[in-house]
Point group: C2
Chain length 408, copies 2
């Protein structure tokens, strides 16, 4: 008998019929004697409906009130799933983020989990209940409702698994595992049986939508055994996210090609090349709670330098207007933005011990005439920013160049 | 400067445009220097949408989970109204029932308010905020979400006014006050400038939909000054609910004709006429949390008696099946139900000092050939149950007989 945390995303609970399917799946795990805690997202489309409604009132909805609103999406799902479980004779009890006390900081719309009180859940599990928890949401110290930002339900799932010391955290999605790249772009993409946390972390941060990056960080930190599965297939092992030490002796050099269309680039041109300039530029952006991804500073001419970075497209207008506002203070020649970019990355722990991955990547792109705008590297990934229109082409040629295609 | 609690129903906040209208109305009160606490219902149609969704999963939705679900309706409205207020430069903060700690008992779907913690609201008012509270909902001692049942937002409004010792509680509806009867049935119905609490209580309990009965009880108990107004008219004083001592020296004999189509009749025939039989019949009904309205026991023949009572139509099937279940135990000949009934009542505090109201009522109905099935009286009202098909006719002839028509 194990304790399993299962997380079902918006598509998996997108209709009453699908919610009944999820209930039946949970019932099978109960029959095997497992204790189950379920985390659910809002029904697909619901969060967007609520945000659209809010925007009819305020173009930039007040973050505190927006969280009050969008958190209702998951609240509806937990009630429906609990009803569906009871309907087939399984004891169940629902909890909102506030009720189970997922304590977060007060950064509305992008809060971070501080702690989880597992007392109520433990008591319910002991009395034979399936515990159904609203993902994506929490409560701050003053009792305000918060949400965790994009993909936050995955984070809730992993955080609950960590708090409860669960045997496994299963993330059910509309895909049946982690692929070498997005099969919609490269049909010959191959499903991976396992992938290391570090690779998954890079892939998630690079835009692979299977798991939210913070959930992977959390899982790594608390050593939560994480598995990605399809909620639409009855069988299948999915992809297990492993700790490196458990992995195969010989890692493949490259595990996958990740990409991200959600970023935009901002360039501050001709700022004085003096100590503290990076902070002067990025400080106000960070103060506005905007996350910055890639950062590049070029050596400039005549004591001036160019400074580029990428942000999520949602934050683009805000970041741009912040920088335009302080442009005179920065003594910058120009502040420019570009939303038609994409990021493509090759990821693999095996890369560490193999030289030549970067050169092969750059050569492959050059052969197709794709210009590289920015480069960023880590121990296990190389990312490039290119013109958005070349994205599909870049993914396919890199997938082939690194021999990731399935052997069908 | 006064503290005013305003309650806006579902129609008043039924669209983003109407929510903006409500925000503008609140702004006018703020300009006059008043402190405002606002209670809102779910947008019209939303509660029914949620209940229908729940019924797709469970024909009889689990009450605890149903409350988790339907409480999201008001949660969306408080966020939208707070945004609308901020959009026009007014400081505002929203609270769910749980957040403002509207503590209730644990009778899901029909909970009763135990206490309200006014601390947070007071602090927000002191710092210049409009406080926006979700009506209809609360939280029990274990942190479970509860709802107050039909029309519960009115009760929330009055309870908040009582807790805050507000100067006035204004209930905004789609009608502009309390009428002598429903103008849709009798176009010559007249708007009352004021009505006593006792009359209002009777009218509400008799089905006048302007205010929920529990809100009137609450208002009477805590001496909350209550006013019914239209949310669609800019001007107008509405109808003030007065304490009798404030009323005119000479009360009109009859203030209005109320009616109710929402009840159904259950008759237990031929039970032994012995002590305790009423309890044996109504005990199990009360245990199932079903409210009973009129109760009539006829003197029977041969040691047996007939026992009739009315319940809300929503509870009819449940009450009927409970009694059929215990019919052998009751030694009853038959248990019968009738859903095609209606209740019509004449209400007025002046009735106390005037004889002959009852006889005039019965004569008026008899002249139209309307048969009376049940009669129930109090100090200030006389109610009769008749066949539902005669309802409109009965209301019109009584309205005329008691000279309630407007002098247009």
């Amino acid at each position: 008998m194990s304790l399993i945390v299962q997380k079902y995303g918006g598509t998996s609970v997108g209709s009453p019929e699908r919610i009944r399917n999820v209930a039946r799946r949970i019932a099978k795990f109960r029959e095997k004697g497992h204790d189950i805690v379920v985390v659910v997202s809002a029904m697909s489309g619901e969060t967007n409906r609520l945000i659209a409604l809010a925007r009819e009132i305020q173009q930039q909805p007040d973050p505190r009130e927006l969280d009050v609103m969008v958190s209702t999406g998951e609240q509806v799902t937990i009630a429906l799933l609990s009803m569906a479980l009871k309907e087939i004779g399984i004891k169940a009890k629902s909890y909102t983020g506030a009720q189970v006390r997922v304590l977060t900081d007060s950064a509305f719309t992008k809060a971070r989990i501080v702690s989880i009180d597992e007392g109520k859940m433990r008591a319910d599990l002991d009395s034979g209940h399936v515990v159904v928890v609203a993902g994506f949401q929490g409560v701050d110290n003053d009792g305000n409702i918060t949400t965790l930002g994009r993909g936050g339900s995955d984070t809730t799932g992993v955080a609950l698994a960590a708090a409860l010391k669960a045997d496994e955290c299963q993330i059910y999605t509309d895909v049946d595992g982690v692929y070498t790249t997005d099969p919609r772009i490269e049909p010959r993409a191959r499903k991976l049986k396992s992938v290391t946390f570090e690779e998954m972390l890079e892939m998630a941060s690079l835009g692979s939508k299977v798991l939210q990056i913070r959930s992977v960080e959390f899982a790594g930190k608390y050593k939560v055994k994480l598995r990605v599965l399809s909620s639409f297939e009855e069988e299948g092992e999915g992809t297990l996210i492993t700790f490196e030490e458990e992995g195969q002796m010989e890692q493949p050099i490259i595990s996958g090609i990740a990409f991200n269309r959600d970023e935009a680039k901002i360039t501050v041109r001709g700022v004085p090349d003096k100590p503290g300039i990076a902070y002067q530029i990025l400080g106000p952006v960070a103060d506005a709670n905007i996350e910055v991804d890639m950062i590049i500073q070029n050596i400039g001419e005549g004591g001036a330098t160019d400074f580029s970075f990428t942000v999520h497209k949602n934050d683009f207008e805000k970041a741009l207007s912040i920088l335009k506002g302080i442009q005179p203070h920065l003594e910058a020649k120009d502040v420019m933005g570009d939303q038609s970019i994409a990021k493509v990355s090759v990821v693999g722990v095996g890369m560490r011990s193999h030289v030549g991955v970067a050169s092969q990547m750059f050569r492959t792109l050059a052969e197709e005439g794709i210009n590289i705008q920015m480069i960023s590297t880590s121990e296990i990934k190389i990312s490039v920013v290119i013109d958005e229109k070349y994205l599909e082409l870049a993914v396919r040629v890199l997938h082939k160049a690194f021999q990731l295609e399935s052997q069908v």
